[in-house]
């Protein structure tokens, strides 16, 4: 199973993502330069963290127009799994693939810390094997990670179960003190309505090796692998049914 890790000029977590994915049995990651135009060979797409185009204008504002983004949008609309971490999340929002936007941290400070997030939706393609309420310990490192959405979008996100992760304390309560950036309703990660595009500010890629203090991030990559396998099995059985 092959994952594409997109490299924009200014990405700096591309190697972390490739290393995290390659450390899992059955998964292989490859770099894809942002000037490429096709992602046909890949089962899933990862937009890594960093500072694409120096974060000029707004984080992700210029990267969303990179040539590869046309393929990302097309494949995402066709149902392929797309994961955006940190700057990748910002790019997905700028591209309109995810609702809302990420603005300056409320504290005005760059936060670099280990945070606790609570899984809100356990049957998403990205949180298989994580029952609702599971706490994932993941690092954050960003200056513009405060999630904003207007009241109607928020209502919709909650109603359609699109909020996948919330910042919480060690008991699993989404209290203000556990919120590193001032995100509305402690939102750390959301998906699109169809569920196949997931963006989060924390870095699962930096929490996939016990030596780094947490392996909770690997659960997200493993969940993606399980989803793709399950989808393949389903299409195969459909084909058998059609033949019979």
């Amino acid at each position: 199973m092959k994952f594409a890790v997109i490299q924009f000029p200014g990405s700096n977590c591309d190697q972390d993502c490739v290393a995290a994915i390659n450390s899992l049995e059955g998964l292989r990651a490859e770099y894809v330069w942002h000037k490429e135009t096709s992602l046909d060979d890949f089962d899933a797409i990862v937009l890594p963290g960093g500072f694409a185009y120096g974060d000029y204008l707004r984080c992700g504002a210029i990267a969303r127009f990179s040539p590869i983004m046309r393929a990302v949008v097309n494949d995402a609309r066709a149902g392929k799994l797309v994961l955006g971490t940190c700057n990748g999340f910002q790019i997905l929002c700028e591209a309109g693939l995810l609702p809302g936007a990420l603005v300056r941290n409320r504290s005005l400070r760059f936060v670099c810390d280990m945070v606790t997030t609570r899984v809100e939706v356990d049957d998403s393609p990205f949180t298989h094997g994580c029952p609702k309420g599971t706490l994932l310990h993941l690092p954050v490192a960003h200056g513009e990670g405060c999630f904003f959405a207007d009241a109607e979008t928020l209502r919709e996100l909650n109603a359609k179960r699109q909020v996948i992760l919330r910042y919480s304390d060690s008991r699993g309560c989404a209290v203000p003190e556990a919120n590193p950036n001032g995100s509305t309703e402690n939102i750390a990660g959301i998906c699109n309505r169809e569920g196949n595009i997931f963006g989060l500010m924390p870095h699962p890629d930096r929490a996939s090796d016990a030596r780094l203090g947490s392996i909770d991030g690997a659960r997200i990559f493993r969940s993606m692998m399980q989803t793709i396998s399950a989808n393949r099995a389903m299409t195969a059985s459909d084909r058998v049914k059609q033949v019979a």
């Binding site: 127009f65 700028e94 609702p99 603005v103 904003f148």
Partner: protein, 87 residues
């Protein structure tokens, strides 16, 4: 044609930078300051000046120069760039 584009955060979007500047102004002896909002100002120089160019420019204001989810923009034609006739 010269244009100026002003991009401002929407009223509903928290502007911590503006709040910090507001607090600093109050601290420096101006308690009258009620609020400060910080946006972006761009000066753009273009070849040509027809209406079609302007409508394309509006398109890019929406797609690139501002993010309509969090910001409003205003496009001003730079009148001062025109040659002054009466002097």
């Amino acid at each position: 044609m010269k244009v100026k584009v002003v991009v401002m955060p929407k009223a509903a979007v928290l502007d911590p930078q503006g709040n910090a500047v507001r607090d600093a102004m109050r601290h420096l002896g101006m308690p009258e300051v009620r609020s400060v909002r910080i946006g972006k100002y761009m000066e753009i120089d273009l070849d040509g000046k027809n209406g079609e160019l302007e409508s394309r420019l509006h398109g890019l204001c929406r797609d690139l120069l501002s993010n309509p989810v969090i910001e409003d923009y205003e496009l001003q034609k730079d009148e001062s760039a025109k040659p002054k006739r009466n002097k």
